[in-house]
Amino acid sequence: MTVPNMYALVGVGLLCMGLYGLVMHSHLVRKILALNVSGSGVFLFLVALADQTPGPTPDPVPHAMVLTGIVVAVSATALALALACRIQQVNGTLRLSDNEPE
């Protein structure tokens, strides 16, 4: 197996691990971390794609996508953490209660 292929597989693995963590954990900070793990998996997969093109120079398009994706992930994480802080202040817990509003 080539090195880029291995990176791509690890990327898929990270995505699945993150999604598993997101569903299984109830603590909000753990959920947010799990989403970030998933995001890193997708980015790793994209970086591995850059090696597909023939020739010594890698394809710049996946790199541009990863850079944009990182910016989006940082702002999404910031919003999620800010929301988690407010939930802690208002509800006194960092878990989403399971009972829906009436």
């Binding site: 997969f45 996508m65 944009t68 919003l79 999620a80 939930i87």
Partner: protein, 485 residues
Amino acid sequence: MSLNEVLQPMSLPAWLVALPLLAAGLSVVMPRCSVWTAFFSAITTPFLVVCLGREIFFHGSIEIHVGGWQTPLGISLYADGLSTAMLGVTALVFGIVTFYARPYFSGHAVARHFWPLWLFLWSALNALFLSADIFNLYVTLELLGLSAVALVALSQTGDALTAAMRYLLVSLTGSLMYLMGVAFLYAANGTLSLKMLAIVGPASPSVVTAFALMAAGLIMKSALFPMHFWLPPAHANAPAPVSAVLSALVVKASFYILVRLWVMLFEPSIPAIVAQLLGILGMAAIIWGSVQALLAERLKLLVAYSTVAQIGYLFLVFPLSLLPQVGKTAWQGGLYFLFSHACAKSAVFLAAGTVIHTFGHDRINELHGIVRRLPVSMFAFGLAGVSLIGLPPSGGFIAKWLYLNASLSGGQWWWGVLIILGGLMSTAYIFRFFSRAFSHSEEIVGERPAPRGMEWTAFTLALCSLILGLIPGSVIKMLEIGNPF
């Protein structure tokens, strides 16, 4: 730069994204002028959409490369009949709801945060409908999700914050799955442009994987049953103008992406059974959403569950469009459904917001005889209800008529039965509220009078959903431009 240069046809799509974005930036910097920048945007953006519509009506669809950068590194914007119609309904709903939001938020401290987010949301929607490549669609989806979540959290009550958090987690998961699908498509075809992807060869395992990932992500974001759990709390706890555009437009944006991808890329390579499965999920959504709406204790929750049901109708378009010879009718029906539901549902949410504003609560069982206090709002609710049920002469009727036509002439009559059953169930939940609202009651306690602007904006939107029923010919002609189907 003269006005003619600014308004030259090729720069119209760029202005449609830039104008609300500039207004949003301005309202962050100068919060005191934020209402006026929003009003400015609410008047000029629909005007630009009309200019764009006129342009593509006479000269066909247009594509521009922003800043002169070609693909793959530049960003291109593309406008055909479908995207212009989506821009049009967005401009209509946002334009009218903006005038509702001013009295709704007047004197509230949150208004300061509302206006910039509102304009960001508008800009994200416009950019999404104009995107010509699948990665740009991802970025606009995220922009849309982030501003929508922030708007849901605006009231900062415990319920609203929890609903916003749940919405954010679902939205981010959906986008990540969509992005993974983008990566698979790029790996298989080496391009991101929708147009280039449309002409690439036969199905490969990576295209099928890409479809599975993208469809799963977009279904989560459009709240199709069984991924609808986040929608009712989020839409019921948001401020009324926000609930209106979330139900009317934001859930439809991810449905729009799925339609585009399906028509341009996936239809030939995905087995027909998948379309049937999407239709069956839609059927489950119609039944489940209607039953929950019938059981809801609160008016806004009733309306939110009605949205869950109506999203089910949208997904019936996938099995119906595969029937021989009626594919086009089915697509027209699906999109007509989208437009009329956008107008009707935003009107209903605005009327429900007026009820809460006036009486301080929305417990259906305690709203006896409110029609005497809020005649215009209840009239708007009724007109919009006509469209939601699908009675003539409304947009909802045309949509259901096109669907029924497709299902009967295509030989799959059971979808037709479901459509009629769904109409009956929506009649039941709308009249459950009306039987209270119109009942005789001696004392009606209202805390404060409803501003007239709030009542009449809801009425205007409800009227639009009826007018859609009178002009089906021109709307369908518009949709045909550039042959999106």
